[in-house]
């Protein structure tokens, strides 16, 4: 991260007492940011009795196995294992679906001239502007009209209608040297051959980075699954948690609810931490 021509370190970086102060500030920052997750984890390892007589303990208890088993196998309305599977299918469906349609459409836009191209380009561009939250009622009616309520198709399809990925791939294709397409043409390779043998392998890093971002986007969806999954068996974990709270004045089953929250966080956290470099790259690329 340092520049090659930089003078040796030491002049503007902190040393001595200042260095310690900086580290202490960072550690405090991390602890504060981390505290809500820690507390949820602790609550998922104690009994309901420990929680309903505040203050609850701040160190994990011995109920980890019981609470997580109860959450995964029976949950409140539906076993959390089912919700986890639904979330996984939805997140992967959105990520893969969006990547496929945008790889292809960006290829068409960059490497061909065809009638109506500019119109299509602007039509796709317009979809950048409108998050699903804004058009929920009519989109809901479309899905209901197709009989796609409580289906994976209904969960996935409306959320892949956005142009960010198309623009990312278009940007990337523009940087691919013209000579490659030229050579493919001279050799008599078909456009699809060029796409599969040259363009697709070259896009692998971009695809991976985008996958990380889209997986988290899909996994963390809330409003859309809330509207179209009326059957608890189709609930995703992120929206299902709210359904676990009792209506009225009953006590919520906090240990199980918080065990479910922890389970809901684990997949995206694993993806972000294990693919940190790709994640940051995807984040910066997709926002440019």
């Amino acid at each position: 991260m340092t520049h090659p021509n930089d003078p040796p370190p030491g002049m503007v970086e902190r040393r001595g007492l200042g260095l310690w102060v900086s580290h202490i500030i960072m550690i405090l920052g991390v602890l504060i940011v981390f505290f809500p997750i820690w507390l949820a984890f602790v609550a998922s390892t104690v009994t309901q009795a420990d929680i309903v007589s505040p203050p609850m303990p701040l160190w994990p208890g011995d109920q980890f196995y019981n609470n997580y088993r109860e959450a995964l196998l029976s949950g409140v309305n539906v076993p959390v294992a089912t919700m986890l599977l639904n979330s996984l299918i939805m997140a992967i469906g959105i990520a893969v679906g969006k990547i496929i349609i945008s790889l292809l459409s960006a290829f068409a836009i960059v490497y061909f001239r065809f009638p109506g191209k500019m119109i299509f380009f602007w039509l796709i561009f317009l979809t950048l502007m409108l998050p699903v939250e804004v058009r929920i009622v009519p989109t809901y009616e479309v899905i209901a009209g197709f009989g796609m309520l409580n289906s994976y198709g209904g969960l996935i399809l409306p959320l892949i209608a956005s142009a960010t990925a198309t623009f990312l791939f278009r940007q990337f294709y523009m940087t691919v040297p013209d000579e490659l397409a030229e050579a493919a043409r001279v050799d008599g390779a078909s456009p699809m051959r060029f796409f599969w043998d040259i363009l697709f392998p070259m896009s692998r890093t971009n695809i991976a980075a985008l996958f990380v971002i889209l997986f988290i986007y899909g996994w963390n969806q809330y409003l859309w699954p809330l509207l179209i999954t009326t059957d608890p068996k189709m609930n995703t974990i992120v929206m299902g948690i709210k359904q676990m709270f009792p209506s009225g004045d009953d006590w919520a089953n906090w240990p199980v609810i918080l065990a479910t929250s922890i389970l809901a966080m684990i997949p995206p956290i694993i993806v972000v931490i294990s693919m940190q470099k790709l994640f940051i790259r995807g984040l910066v690329d997709s926002e440019k």
């Binding site: 503007v12 309903v52 349609i101 939250e133 956005s162 918080l258």
Partner: protein, 293 residues
């Protein structure tokens, strides 16, 4: 726009672009068109027929005190979320940037909340401030402060702001940290040699160099607060108490799905559509041109 070298044919590219165009048409343009169309009608009480009212829904909305309040609530909420997520992130990034060792470790630790869905963040913060079992509200009670976001509107607002800003600190930190690392150290060293102290360097060199990142994050965070915080509001307050946390997106949902007032909900969608459009154009045109080093 396109390559110097292109392939021949028009059928193949049309087939390639067809999936995206179809998905956009069915799930994007048709619903958006429907929203505009429906915003011009009022359904009768039995939902059997629609009566054309022109811009009546819009006129009604703009004179509706609840809707105006919701606009104000959204403005306050977005501003607070943006502020509460950018200031701590910038502070932490500046501190981390001055460390030679360990900055990477702190970054890894700070990324976590980004992966947590807004709705889950809502559950975590609700748990901490729950009026019956919450740890933080209990300790506040020991200090003599009676926390009750179920009844107190400003406390409810504070809670949804903090829960929404929490995950964004990670996001903003990543961008600020990357931008800080990209500033050549020699520039800072030069100022240091000229005798500029840390704060002087920060205000006169670092902050101006960060301005493109800052403005970019400003717009992105406002858009986030407008549209992606639905989960936080729904899990913590459901828009209450007395609609004190009903932001515009939440109102589209509650009027359209809970209240079944389709005409009004569609008109609200159209207004939001204009807001997003304006923000997007603002981001593309204004910010990219105006903010330079």
């Amino acid at each position: 726009m396109e390559k110097r070298v292109t392939f021949k044919g028009w059928l193949l590219p049309l087939c390639l672009i067809a999936p995206q165009v179809l998905v956009s048409a069915i799930f994007f343009f048709y619903p958006a068109g429907q929203a505009i169309w429906q915003s011009l009608f009022i359904p009768d009480p039995f939902g059997l027929s629609m009566q054309y009212v022109g811009l009546g829904n819009f006129e009604y909305l703009l004179s509706d005190p609840y809707y105006r309040t919701s606009f104000l609530t959204t403005a306050v909420f977005s501003l607070l979320v943006t502020l509460c997520s950018m200031v701590p992130a910038l502070f932490l990034a500046v501190v981390a940037d001055r460390l030679i060792k360990g900055a990477g470790v702190y970054r890894t630790m700070l990324i976590w909340p980004y992966a947590v869905a807004p709705a889950i963040a809502g559950v975590l913060w609700l748990f901490m401030f729950n009026t019956r079992v919450g740890v933080v509200s209990w300790y506040l009670g020991q200090l003599g402060y009676d926390w009750n976001h179920v009844l107190n509107g400003s406390e409810a607002m504070g809670l949804v702001v903090v829960a929404s800003a929490w995950g964004r600190i990670s996001y903003n930190f990543l961008f600020f940290f990357a931008a800080l690392q990209a500033i050549p150290k020699s520039v800072i060293e030069a100022a240091a040699i000229d005798g500029a102290r840390f704060w002087k360097r920060f205000w006169t060199i670092v902050l101006p160099l960060l301005s493109p990142t800052t403005f970019f994050l400003l717009v992105v965070n406002i858009v986030y607060a407008f549209f992606e915080t639905f989960g936080v509001i729904h899990t913590i307050t459901s828009g209450g108490p007395q609609q004190s946390t009903t932001i515009l997106v939440y109102k589209v949902f509650s009027d359209g799905f809970v209240g079944q007032d389709l005409g009004s909900s569609a008109a609200q969608s159209v207004i939001l559509l204009v807001v997003v459009g304006a923000l997007t154009i603002f981001q593309f045109k204004f910010i990219e041109r105006r903010v330079h080093y």
